[in-house]
Subunit: 346 residues, 4 copies
């Protein structure tokens, strides 16, 4: 039986292990890929750290970690028709059933029977991986291979930015982790006329500026609400893209939003928080949208076009590249915040 | 100087007074109307009871209470061109400046310079009242005059129901006060395929059934979430229309909502409440909309057409009619919950 | 080899034949169904009459005609998981590839690789038929079996009515063939506040009234444009649903439409016609939508719910029921126009 | 009585005249402005040339021509509150009644009682002009004054580009007159991922490239449909923005559009043209939108923000600047096509 290297979550508790394990065999609806690159998501870090969310959510240990992927197709299950051997692919990480109400009505990414790579089933921090043919996204040849791995989280950013009107709008991105930074960049190329971000970490403040933020506010140093109101002539911001999961940032964002504004949330607070529905939502006539995943596959098409057209450049956002064996270095960097997106090469 | 009877909030504290006061004189952009009927809103009750919201919000005492109106135009300010003497009107109660960003972009009802009858300026619980010509809504002659006074709160219901997709959707209306009951009726005629309501009060439970609720759940007697899931084959409800302001009802509604659903809120909780953004909004991919007022004047046109076409009948919803002098009887009935909409005739 | 009866188009030219032929065998992604009922579409009539469209479009003769279906699942191809033996199904008739740009972005019904039952591949005017598992629609048990066969064309009506705003709108349905009549009924239950139809045939005029038209205009007897303007207080109609394919009706509809209105077209004119883009579309700021098929599967869910909730009753629209052998009687009735929907039972 | 210079259309027939005439006096709802700059629209050229449209449309001669304006407010009518003396303004040129169905429902730009500067009432090719206070648009101080005059036609471009989805879309702009060129520029900054234009005139081809067209096709030299299909991998273009009014360009655009695409028309063909509704619209499932004017005032806010943020630069599009007296030179240049936007300074 062929073997491969993989980073697995072996058991409950902090950490992860590099192991040798059996190379997977594709089922009839799957493809086997050689992993050319993978990248680290905040979710991977949660699983690595074994935080409360991970403890409650991760059921099937041991499990290969990771879900962001650039791979080369090596073998096809017999029902797979949409890709061929040798294709370079990225992959949608939400596995959908295809026939529930949500799959039927444009919301396959929240399929009631859905599973997620590296969360519910084995992931892609490995030399090889299997993915459903339906989830394979053939990379446009104009896009650098490295970027394929980052298309999935970039899709989160695109999904959030485009969940409502953005052209001619002012935008506040709260939190400049990798997806926050991508949201800044995507907002810029989609016609937002003022992009303000908030961030505490200097490295990320610089990164946000580099990709096009008109202004980055450090909430430790400046009053976010006052500053946003001043920058918007007292009206408030049109659109909030919440990327921090931080209750203080969320409260500030509610206050910074103009009446009738949009508040799209991708960040996840650890626990319930107090919200003044009357003051912050009802009287203010605002819309709060919970966002996760990517539209399958409208978001992928847009994401791909942004990259292939050269309108969007991921290069400044990919700040570090390591060998897969160095995954712990990547995890530590993520914890420090002194990075954008980190790639791992098996 | 001509005199008139009016119900005023004379001073801080519970209660209201019937007084004789000067008949108002219309300004250049206003019309003077003889009030043919007015009706009691929950807001009026808050001011009458002098609850926390009223204490914080009401600044200009003494003030004539009330904002829902059927009136006959008696005099026109010299700039008013859109109505004429003798017209029977209802009135939009949000007075907008017409040139701020919100007025400019289809959101005059949340004008940053906006004022509201009976809250910021003298209202209509009186024999006569002045309203801006721009706020006058000429009643379609096919609509009973009585209904004019109720078109404003009916507009709230129409605004909430139509704030997103409704046709072919299942709907949960939480709370069957007058606007809740109207929301049931409006959802029915707009193609909702299952309309479930929740309500504690027996009188209102019957009223909700009468206007078309497929099912009314009494949360004291049944488990709302279980019942809704059962009625929706385990999927959850497509749309929540929150009309209660009750934190328990709101929590139940979040749990009853299907992934990707719509949660439109018109009800106002007294104070901040805990919300699990991650579980209830982000992972669930739902949209929460704060609603207030009515679109000026798309909602009015729809409301008027629902009534003039006979598609919607307000008669079952108007449960009591009193003389203006009997306003206290109306307030008490509202407190008891044993009523739908209450009309007062000056 | 098992045999079955089927109505086939054997060769170019008018007519069709009832023949004995081999019972089909389902492929790995298909199901075999026993046809319980089928119904006649205008498209079937075009193929039967062998009009210009049919001559240009139909390539693979001989071919089983028909595409509207109520069937019982008898056998499953080995990849089929979403239905089981004994299920009573209707079927989506557009077969989509699932991975082109259009399939990927919510438009599978216009898949660039798409095929249609009874047009590109064998249809369902037969005792047995095979359909892709992905196209099977399991009938809600609250819906009469007969209605399953009519859900496909009803889906066309639902798709057209709901292709834009309908609640609180005035609607003109031009042409009261079966889908026109369904559009009248669907508009009514979805909150249209005035539904006007045009039709020449008395039988269908009565049918349109029966299902809820507020007014049916016979263009031979009355001036359509004048009448519509009068009924809309001079404004013009908000929404046109074009179901006739008739150039005169189309011109009248353009003139009847209000500025900023919606013009949704399901009818197909035989040949190009003159349109005054400047006057009728640009200066009038209207939106013209070409409609075909049904959204896969949002429209099916709505259609199913309209029926299962009892909001919509197809019984008055199904005017005739014949044995499959009597298909010529059905075709002749369709030609006469003295019918609504015609069912055929194998 | 004070006098001023003005360019008027004195009588039917080609040409226009520079005359001395009475300086206008503002009514109670108007402001008097000193015209700092005006610019020439295609409409002005039609009136100057006295084409068929102008002959049918222009009723009130003599009349001051022109409608695009940069002015300084000199005097206020007594009801005007939203501007003050000294304000630098542009102006919306559609004068709306404010209380018809269209004004009430977000479509004031197609008000049924609407009038247009320089078409129905005196325009702005003059030293002074009066405009309704409600139509005055106060220029953001970050925007060069010159640009104020061009904001009105730029608004047409913005309105057309943003009439549907644009981000991540491929776009075909047919015709690179001034508004076509602006549409190219606006599409670019709003996230279109490929912007193709068609144009015959070399000067304008260069201009379109300068402002961001990825490709400009000269239909005299290349097959538009083939080229567009090749550039879109055979799918067809997502969005057509029709700016030429040319029937050949329109036919090519229909063929170039992908199934399910958007076809937004601002150009006006001289006369009716043949359209194959079945093939080009219904089976193709496309949406055709007639566009005119600008949303009052959402479009103005977006337009203003594009300019004030520096996202959009009009400088390359303003190719010529003349004194008002030289208007004939401007008209001749417009006829030649060897220009972008032409400014006239009184």
């Amino acid at each position: 039986m062929a073997k491969m290297k993989a980073v697995i979550k072996a058991k409950p508790g902090p950490g992860a292990e590099l192991v040798d394990m059996e190379k997977p065999v594709p089922g009839p609806d799957q493809v086997l890929v050689k992993v050319l690159a993978t990248s680290i998501c905040g979710t991977d870090l949660h699983i690595y750290e074994w935080n409360e969310w991970a403890q409650a959510r991760i059921k099937n240990l041991p499990q290969v970690m990771g879900h962001e992927l650039c791979g080369e197709v090596l073998e096809l299950g017999k029902n797979v028709k949409n890709v061929k051997k040798g294709d370079i692919i990225s992959a949608e990480t939400h596995i959908a059933c295809g026939h529930c109400y949500l799959c039927h009505t444009g919301n396959a990414h929240i399929c009631v029977n859905g599973k997620i790579f590296g969360v519910d089933v084995n992931g892609v921090f490995a030399e090889y991986a299997v993915v459903p043919g339906a989830n394979a996204w053939i990379l446009d040849e104009k896009i650098p291979k490295d970027f394929a791995s980052v298309m999935e989280p970039l899709g989160n950013a695109v999904h959030t930015v485009l969940a409502g009107e953005i052209t001619g709008n002012t935008v506040l991105v709260t939190g400049c982790g990798p997806i926050g930074v991508m949201s800044v960049a995507v907002s810029r190329i989609c016609g937002a006329t003022k992009v303000i971000a908030t961030e505490l970490n200097d490295y990320r403040i610089q990164l946000a500026k580099k990709v096009g933020a008109d202004l980055v506010i450090n909430p430790k140093k400046e009053n976010v609400v006052e500053k946003v109101l001043k920058e918007t002539d007292g009206l408030g911001i049109d659109v909030v893209l919440e990327m921090s999961g931080n209750p203080i940032a969320i409260k500030q964002a509610f206050e910074s939003l103009r009446p009738g504004g949009r508040f799209s949330i991708l960040g996840i607070p650890d626990k319930p928080m107090e919200i003044d529905l009357g003051k912050d939502i009802v009287f203010k006539y605002i819309t709060v949208q919970g966002i996760n995943g990517r539209l399958m596959f409208s978001t992928w098409h847009k994401t791909s076009r942004f990259l292939s057209s050269g309108r969007l450049d991921l290069e400044p956002i990919i700040t570090h590249r390591f060998r897969l064996e160095e995954f712990e270095k990547g995890m530590e960097l993520m914890q420090s915040g002194n990075c954008g997106k980190i790639l791992l090469y098996p």
